[in-house]
């Protein structure tokens, strides 16, 4: 283990430069997010991820945000274990009818001011699963959404560009 740690100290970091801020995300945020909320949150955002019925593909890419290449925490984002500690709900999946109540209650448990970021094509409008008896639809059918990050699943780069828009919009 010592050898590996020593090698890690001597080698260059793998972390890559941040992608440019997503312009489309900025435009969407300008419409949705109030200036008052921006002022109060500062540059550190606590994220609570909620899977409202995804295929788990989006979760894999959200996980990847924490690896050394993307290193999400350098921007002040961190994932928290409870909605009580969260500023941002990162919601994936078409919202299933079986998860609707859980999502509503998670939203209610998150203190104001808060943002909801819907991740993936399914979270936008139900995606390929739209129209089934088991699916309510996109996240905005259940809770208000401030920002959509598209993709099936969105790559970690896309996710980062969207989340950075959230930061740059509020500062």
């Amino acid at each position: 283990m010592r050898k590996l740690l020593y090698k890690s100290i001597l080698s260059l970091p793998l972390t890559e430069r941040a992608p440019p801020v997503d312009e489309r995300a900025l435009a969407e945020l300008a419409q949705n997010v109030q200036a008052a909320a921006r002022l109060r949150l500062g540059r550190s955002l606590a994220i609570r991820q909620v899977d409202a019925g995804s295929c788990n593909g989006c979760e894999l890419e959200i996980h990847a945000l924490n690896n050394a290449f993307y290193d999400l925490e350098r921007f002040g984002f961190h994932f928290v274990a409870s909605p009580r500690h969260a500023d941002v709900l990162l919601v994936t999946g078409p919202v299933t009818t079986n998860m609707r109540e859980a999502l509503e209650r998670t939203y209610a448990a998150t203190p104001d001011p808060k943002w909801v970021v819907a991740v993936g094509d399914c979270a936008l409008d139900g995606g390929i699963f739209a129209g089934g008896y088991g699916v309510v639809g996109g996240v905005s059918a259940v809770v208000p959404v401030d920002l959509h990050i598209r993709g099936c699943p969105p790559s970690p780069r896309d996710l980062l560009a969207g989340l950075l828009a959230l930061l740059s919009h509020q500062s």
């Binding site: 283990m1 050898k3 590996l4 740690l5 793998l14 991820q49 909620v50 899977d51 409202a52 019925g53 995804s54 295929c55 788990n56 593909g57 989006c58 979760e59 894999l60 890419e61 959200i62 996980h63 990847a64 924490n66 690896n67 050394a68 290449f69 994932f79 274990a81 409870s82 909605p83 999946g93 078409p94 299933t96 009818t97 079986n98 998860m99 609707r100 109540e101 859980a102 998670t106 390929i128 699963f129 129209g131 089934g132 008896y133 088991g134 699916v135 099936c152 699943p153 790559s155």
Partner: protein, 499 residues
Amino acid sequence: MTTLPKILGGGTDVTGRWPRVAVSSKVWEFAGQQLEKGAWTLVAHWAEPAMVHAALRERGSGATGILSLDVPDRRYPSLGRHCLSARRPERAIRDLVGLEPEGAPDPRPWLDHGKWGLRHPLGERGAAGDMESYRFLPVEGEGLHQIPVGPVHAGIIEPGHFRFTASGETVVRLEERLGYAHKGIEALLIDAPLERAAKIAGRASGDSTVAYAVAFAQAVEAACDTAVPPRAAYLRAVMLELERIANHVGDIGAICNDAAFSLMHTHCAIMRERILRAADIAFGHRLMMDRVVPGGVANDIAPDGKNQIVKLLALITRQFPALIAIYEDTASLQDRTVRTGLLRHDLVMQFGAGGFVGRASGRTFDARKNLPCPPYDTLKFEIPMLERGDVDARVRIRIREVEQSISLLGQLFAQLPDGDIRTPVAPRAAEGSALVEGFRGDVFVWVRMNENGSVARCHLRDPSWFQWPLLEAAIDGNIVADFPLCNKSFNCSYAGHDL
């Protein structure tokens, strides 16, 4: 004595590797007894509005096939009376199709949480009635307390509910309640055009998208008698093995992380990212979604794809042993994984649990070996097997499987044939099935096609169906704090199970 091949030989609609025959209720009962004796293994159990199906495998001969029972009065003899692994599928059949398994030991709903606004979405649909609140199994005893967890979990994970009953720190019972991710995929597949159906099937469980896409494609190809070009079969195998390595490497790190050993997690996450990037370059998608289609593959490997993957394999071959050495030499980590979450061999056999969960408890089944489709029938590889059945054994199986997959990828690229990558599927009204080894275990798909090339009916069975119940057994007697470790060592799919 009657055997499965004899029963299957008696029917008229025998085709391919998974012949399906209609049987009498007497034979259905016989099947139940064979399951109880352990002579047969249940591979899948599903239903249509007036017919119930059981895909089976005979343990000795390895024969496989599907028995179907007509149930005009919507009642059939329960298999769950004889066989534990049929119990949850039966509850799902009752919820989705509205068929009643007579004598079933568990009358509670499973996927239906009373929120759909209707009943029996895959059978004769009816208006939703009042559903009483879900009754968890009663637990009695002095000093017991319960811990409800989920459906929203503390980490970045899928939704599901766990009800722990603990005596102090020790778990005396875990009861799972699933179905939160139920999207109604099988209803969405009814009359779906083939292209759309393949996309939906590939999103049953995102981490196994290649395995699902291959299983669905093979089932369609079996139904429509489509010959897949050799190059496409090889490219599918390349994607399957890349998916397996990516998931195994990521999960080995994540398991160590759940034992608070983040160094492994960090390095495994870097390796996983490199694998996904190579997959992106080679096939144009990090998870390789929608690359496998009925008839072949959607696009050929990129010109630089082979080179990228070969370089990646060299890197993994160089770095992986050092990481594994850390896993094996760190006493504090071994202290957490060895003898934690023990899973008994007899349970694994009863449930026919596949993947590393089965193979860490002495069940060797691997669809790549036991029911090989090309090109696996010509490749050299071993199926690692251990008998201890603890978290450590499941980790070690996955380590060995990574090594085997690296060797497989080397062989695949050495022999990669030239030629077409896709054959058009000639539509016809027919049925087909397939069993494909994903990273988690064997994925079973049965499909009935319409004459116009759309899907008439489809059933997707995730390996998790026969692994989730075993997690309840494995956690028994462990401390609550070891649950994340045990859970991650199983890594069952919620989405694939709930559909």
